[in-house]
């Protein structure tokens, strides 16, 4: 047995690749799926932009209805989970199975915490009277509408666009957490990923980073603008 170390490109792994794009089937399939996801989220964001700027009045100012500090923490959490995911990928690309498990578990925990905090945020918003259909009569936010702090005319649009965009994103995060948990228990823990074949980690990682990327855009346009 000989021991040698060679330095290779991270993007040229040792498994079979599709000619032309130099990517294996799973990765190519995920990129095509992500291209369709770009169009999906563009439709949601585009609709939001059109509804907001064509609305018959002012939009609620940032921070009046939504809890920005909590969501900023959630954004940071998702960014951290994206880093832990890429560290999991780097670990197995270098053949380190132990660190793959550690980083992948941290990613799952980060994703689960993101969804939990989003569920808490939704619960809190509904309690305050912010619904997909607008503001509930007699609620705390209804009082803000009555005294002119919040605009009456656009609260319905605000509620529906907010819950649809963040809800679909939350659904994507949930799917990612389920997929990573499945891979963690059925593959990573059993040592099925090796330096010679870590395609599953690379593929689910692409999905996870895309979910993070979408949230970066959503956080700005929904919470800060």
């Amino acid at each position: 047995m000989t021991h040698a170390t060679t330095t290779t490109s991270l993007m040229r792994p040792p498994f079979p690749a599709e000619r032309g794009v130099d990517a294996h089937n799973l990765k190519l399939g995920m990129w095509i799926f992500l291209a369709s996801e770009v169009m999906f989220f563009t439709a949601l964001i585009g609709s939001y932009v059109i509804l907001r700027f064509g609305a018959p009045g002012e939009w609620a100012r940032p921070g009046v209805v939504l809890n920005v500090p909590v969501t900023a923490f959630n954004t940071f959490l998702l960014i951290c989970s994206s880093v832990s995911m890429v560290k999991a990928f780097a670990a197995i690309a270098d053949g380190n199975q132990k660190m793959l498990k550690v980083w992948l578990l941290l990613t799952i925990i980060g994703g689960a915490m993101f969804v939990s905090i989003q569920a808490y945020e939704y619960t809190h918003l509904v309690e305050r009277g912010f619904l997909p259909s607008g503001v509930r009569d007699g609620s705390e936010l209804a009082a803000l509408v009555a005294n002119g702090t919040l605009p009456q005319a656009t609260m319905g649009l605000y509620g529906s666009t907010f819950y649809i965009m963040t809800g679909f994103h939350g659904f994507h995060v949930t799917c990612g957490v389920i997929a990573m948990t499945y891979l963690f228990f059925t593959k990573a823990l059993r040592g099925k990923y090796t330096q010679q074949d870590y395609r599953g980690i690379e593929t689910v990682g692409l999905y996870w980073h895309f979910v993070d990327l979408v949230w970066i855009i959503l956080f700005t346009i929904v919470y800060l603008i």
Binding site: M1, T2, H3, A4, T5, T6, T7, T8, S9, L10, M11, P14, G20, V21, D22, A23, L28, W31, I32, L34, A35, S36, V38, M39, T42, I45, G46, V49, I50, F53, P62, G63, V68, A72, T75, F76, I79, C80, S82, V83, V86, K87, A90, A93, D94, G95, Q195, G205, L206, H209, F210, D212, L213, I216, I217, F219, T220, I221, L224, I225
Partner: protein, 92 residues
């Protein structure tokens, strides 16, 4: 047995950039008393910057072949056309 050593991008440095840019976004949105339209442009610019960092370094687009990059890039102009066309209805 041969071990393969990869060169990795500076992931933790990118993480620091992303955290700093997020903090800058929050400061810009709530602390700086600047013109609303300028704020809008700057916030969108910061968001695109962060998204590009994720796509280039975490999704490794920077290191992929152009054939694969195009897969991700093609929907973007289509998306821009869609939004522009819909917004321009206001001026028809």
């Amino acid at each position: 047995m041969e071990t393969v050593q990869h060169k990795h991008p500076p992931y933790l440095l990118i993480w620091v950039y992303l955290a700093l840019l997020t903090a800058a976004e929050l400061a810009l949105a709530f602390e700086l008393p600047i013109d609303r339209n300028l704020k809008l442009v700057l916030l969108l610019g910061l968001a695109v910057w962060k998204a590009l960092l994720v796509a280039m370094f975490f999704m490794h687009l920077k290191f992929e072949r152009w054939n694969l990059r195009i897969l991700f890039i093609i929907p973007l102009p289509l998306a821009a056309i869609f939004i522009f066309a819909a917004i321009s209805q206001k001026f028809w």
